[in-house]
């Protein structure tokens, strides 16, 4: 029963973040599954994709329906993003010491400060 409540909450919070910010669903779901549900890492990652895919489709429909869409921009991003995704999965094992996480963590914080305090 307790585990069920955890599942309801984790699912709900993942959905809120993914819908509200258009991202971050996986960042919330994967650590929540491994930490609170004791799911194995690779299973948590695979399951997260199966969960976030329908959530993203529904959120996309709501955004598109309201006119928040730029198809031309989206198409350009899709192509380059998929090529990048392929490269990323191939070089994954070359960066395991956390240096990349550190670099991107610093980048995210810098971008965050800019987005909060500057136009």
């Amino acid at each position: 029963m307790k585990d069920k409540i955890k599942l309801y909450l984790i699912g709900f919070i993942t959905g809120i973040f993914n819908g509200l910010f258009g991202s971050g669903g996986g960042t919330v779901l994967v650590p929540s599954m491994t930490h609170f549900l004791k799911t194995e890492q690779h299973k948590a990652h695979a399951t997260a994709i199966a969960v976030i895919l329908p959530l993203s489709i529904i959120s996309s429909l709501l955004y598109v329906n309201k006119g928040y869409v730029d198809w031309n921009l989206t198409l350009k991003v899709v192509i380059a993003n998929m090529i990048g995704g392929y490269i990323g999965s191939k070089i994954l094992n070359k960066f395991t010491d956390g240096t990349l996480k550190l670099i991107f963590g610093i980048f995210m914080i810098a971008a965050a400060i800019r987005m909060v305090f500057f136009k």
Partner: protein, 133 residues
């Protein structure tokens, strides 16, 4: 050109399991002046083809945790409808600031996990990208 560069980098990052949206959304907003909601919709839409391909390979490998899947999806959908409605109806400057706070927390989380992994410690809250296929 900058669009392709930002997208390529965010794709590489998401392929490595860090979460490409955290790079793509601020990249589009800071360098291309895209409205917050539009940048978010781009990220949601691009996940659909990428997600389908990734999901197909995970199903084939049998990595999906089936017991918890349906509850996570049902409650996730409820959350995503509420979240999307808030995003659609609030002012884009306010949404950008809220996203900034969320991005700050995610950045702090990545830095925390990088320190954990440099010390060769294990922490169940941190993603271990070596195990992600």
């Amino acid at each position: 050109m900058i669009i392709y560069l930002i997208s390529l980098i965010s794709g590489i990052i998401s392929g490595m399991g860090i979460g490409g949206g955290t790079i793509l959304i601020p990249g589009l907003i800071i360098f291309l002046n895209v409205k917050q909601q539009i940048a978010q919709s781009v990220n949601l839409l691009i996940f659909v083809p990428t997600g389908i391909i990734a999901l197909y390979s995970h199903i084939k490998q049998g990595n999906i945790e089936k017991e918890s899947l349906s509850i996570l999806i049902i409650f996730g959908i409820i959350g995503s409808i509420i979240g999307s409605f808030i995003a659609i109806f609030i002012n884009s400057n306010l949404l950008r600031k809220l996203f900034g706070i969320f991005l700050f927390l995610m950045g702090a989380y990545e830095i925390y996990c990088s320190i954990i992994s440099k010390k060769n410690k294990k922490n169940s809250l941190c993603k271990d990208e070596t195990k992600i296929p």
